[in-house]
Symmetry: C2
Subunit: 256 residues, 2 copies
């Protein structure tokens, strides 16, 4: 664990200079973290429209103009200040790197997308514990049969994260997360996983399943920021760059 | 006044067949009406990003794919079902017409933008009267010194509509309209017009000024759907098509 809490700027500088390469969970507490999707301008309208039509899985918090490298939400360089990036070519992983300067093009449009760290913190503050946090595991993530609303070349199923919530805290969990529309908002489903096309809840597509007592807990499903990446990859853009899972962009913006 | 209340579909059919050419104020009550902006695809990303960054003046309610003529919010043809259109070339009015089929191109992207009719109705239902309605005039509209957030080629000042509201009803007016984020939301300013760059409140840039008793009323300013048109025109796109002021698109969607 970090003993010194760095400012977002100092933490990003460590990433930029490759003094540290780690996932950003728990770093710079209280500051908004974000998912990253970079696409060439030719795909940018379709992707922005997709995010507008699918606000829960794809809540945009910042869009950089074509070629721009400095976000509005942080005094940062989008090409260097994330600890780890993934480069996809025609839908296939082509590189994992700590710096994308060599890939950069003037027609690249960067999208920053809200992440569930914000609402998890809000749930914690309301006294709602999350099992995966207690066990220091990744949250369980599933591909559902909920179709996203299509936009241009982008279409595909919604990806969700699941957190077991105590039956007595379900309403409170929904109330709280519904206030965070820029970080996925209210759940998309509560209870029976088969209704959204999840065959075996104990086998998530990503992350870890934490066993829970069904008498006490109910699975609650939130739209997940992995969705836009998954959907974008399906349509095989010539090039697309994202953060590596868990290696998020840390902004200068306070979580609200 | 209409004696028979037509369904949106029947009313649009009358427009489509040019059986009627009139402004849509008061028509198909309870159904959402919308502003229209049509731009070639090359401008679509910038415009969508502009609307995202300037949600109050530019609340998008529907975006059609390039070349598509059927909105999601109505069983309609965007090229014929508005009573009157305006065609602008390089920022200049080139034509006013009841049908844009002859202008249509496969790369045209149509944006439908929320309109204040919805929140005016909500205010009415809460017992808040609007002076311009009582006098059957147009609402007063002003160009302000509030700069919109730039996106690509699109930038310029926010345009606002002003309604004098009774001092005792200001809080209620703000509470009510803040619920209607898809139709401009809460006001952008209350009171002293000079603070937002309006030199003479009795001389609106568009519409009619209705004199009011300053002891009883305060001017309240809402972001106006004219903004995106005004801003888009400033940047002189090669072609842009809009509805004619007051001649709105009537959707099949209930106002909520």
């Amino acid at each position: 664990m970090n003993t010194v809490i760095l400012s977002p700027k100092d933490q990003r500088e460590r990433f930029r200079n490759n003094l540290e390469v780690r996932n950003t969970s728990g770093l710079c507490e209280g500051f908004m973290q974000a998912n990253l999707v970079i696409l060439p301008k030719e795909y940018a309208f379709d992707f922005l429209l997709f995010s507008k039509r699918n606000h829960k899985p794809c809540p945009i918090v910042d869009v950089l103009e074509p070629g721009a490298v400095k976000p509005k939400v942080a005094d940062a360089d989008i090409r260097t200040d994330i600890p780890k990036y993934r480069v996809f070519k025609s839908g296939e992983l082509a590189d994992e790197t700590t710096d994308i300067k060599s890939y950069w093009r003037d027609d690249f449009v960067s999208f920053l997308i809200g992440c569930s760290f914000t609402f998890e913190r809000a749930l914690n503050e309301a006294g709602i514990e999350m099992l995966h946090q207690k066990e220091h595991k990744g949250v369980a993530v599933y591909i559902t049969n909920i179709e996203c609303k299509k936009a241009g070349i982008f279409h595909g199923p919604m990806v969700v994260s699941m957190r077991p919530i105590k039956k007595s805290e379900i309403v409170k969990s929904i109330e709280i997360t519904s206030r965070y529309s820029h970080t996925h908002g209210a759940p998309v489903h509560v209870g029976d996983a088969s209704l959204i096309g999840i065959k075996d809840i104990s086998k998530p597509d990503y992350g870890d399943f934490i066993p829970y007592d069904e008498n006490e807990y109910v699975p609650v499903f939130w739209a997940c920021g992995v969705t836009p990446q998954a959907v974008a990859l399906q349509s095989k853009p010539s090039i697309m760059i994202t953060h590596a899972p868990g290696y998020m962009f840390i902004s200068d913006k306070r979580e609200i």
